[in-house]
Symmetry: C2
Subunit: 220 residues, 2 copies
Amino acid sequence: MYFRQIFHSPSHSIGYLLADMSACDAVLIDPLPEQSELLLALLQERDLRLLYVLRTHMHPPEQGHCGELCRFTGAELVVGTNSPYDGPTQRKGHGETVVFGNEVLRVLATPGHTPDSVCFLWRDRLFCGDTLEIGGCSLDADQSDPGRLYDSVTQRLFLLPGETLMFPGHDFNGRTVSTIAEERHRNAAFSASSREHFLTANARQPARPGPRAPSPHVRQ
Amino acid sequence: MYFRQIFHSPSHSIGYLLADMSACDAVLIDPLPEQSELLLALLQERDLRLLYVLRTHMHPPEQGHCGELCRFTGAELVVGTNSPYDGPTQRKGHGETVVFGNEVLRVLATPGHTPDSVCFLWRDRLFCGDTLEIGGCSLDADQSDPGRLYDSVTQRLFLLPGETLMFPGHDFNGRTVSTIAEERHRNAAFSASSREHFLTANARQPARPGPRAPSPHVRQ
């Protein structure tokens, strides 16, 4: 197996390259289009064939579909069932799998940060995108829904084995890996709060008449 | 494969259980004797045969050799070449391996916290004992040697691939996993200091005539 974290300092984003080295088959999770050159170099370095580009979610107008990278490598884009993206793509629902070589990656539907958000589980590694941050959560997207996020995290991600390694979509605060047990106990957004408290803390301000107020951005 | 972190709240210690599930062979890294009952239950739960108890280091008088657990399970104790322990044991030097089922674990000699300190590398997971803490280091043992610790960490551990998962011997501050890349960049004990600065910051006070002063304990 081959596993790389790919950092993008300006946006604090982390993409992931996973490969089955015996089959030379690879997938990328949440790569950034502006890193295509680096990504191609990493694939070429190990003679890897890119089968899929996986997105945990997309923000309108369909940021990060990596069309050029897919065209260049022949890779297919894989997104969650509820993705708003209407280009060529494979849509995967909760529990469906993505196979590369002899490796299997499972899709977990985790709506909340966006309606189309999914996580990917590979062996004991969970790739969260923006569904769960280390020590917090992100409700800053226009379509974020605190109730659905709370349910996705507490009733889906936190039920995974405690040792599951949790890889976030961003390295805010410089941290790049956690475990489900650690997040269960220490994530301030969830560990100390009830669902009601979480909803209250993350409620959007009601819209006022007159000029439209800017969207509230909430980060724990 | 099977991987468990075993926490001991009073001492903030973390032990590790690794197993090859197809062969049903297991090893334990730095288990605590007072957790023997739990450890046996975890082994029995999965029908695992404990082959080795691995110690990253021991503090006099040979704490944690887990004699009872070894006798009960038939497991052998594995320690670094320089271990002061004179009971029945396998001594492993730098680069030597420990095999369980089809899994291979490699010994890295990393003296500094104690003269006998070793780390264990299994796949892309590094088990550090007290050689490296998340965000710091430990020089609180009587035989700690700051210069050797600095060299072990910077010239041996920090040369591993950045994605290597770093599992510490303690969950001080509640963190239970990091990566080598993260420690290279963010570990305050090493990232901001030269070897000279590290030695100066961690120098022991010279002994004074008269009643013996207590040993200094330094933690970054």
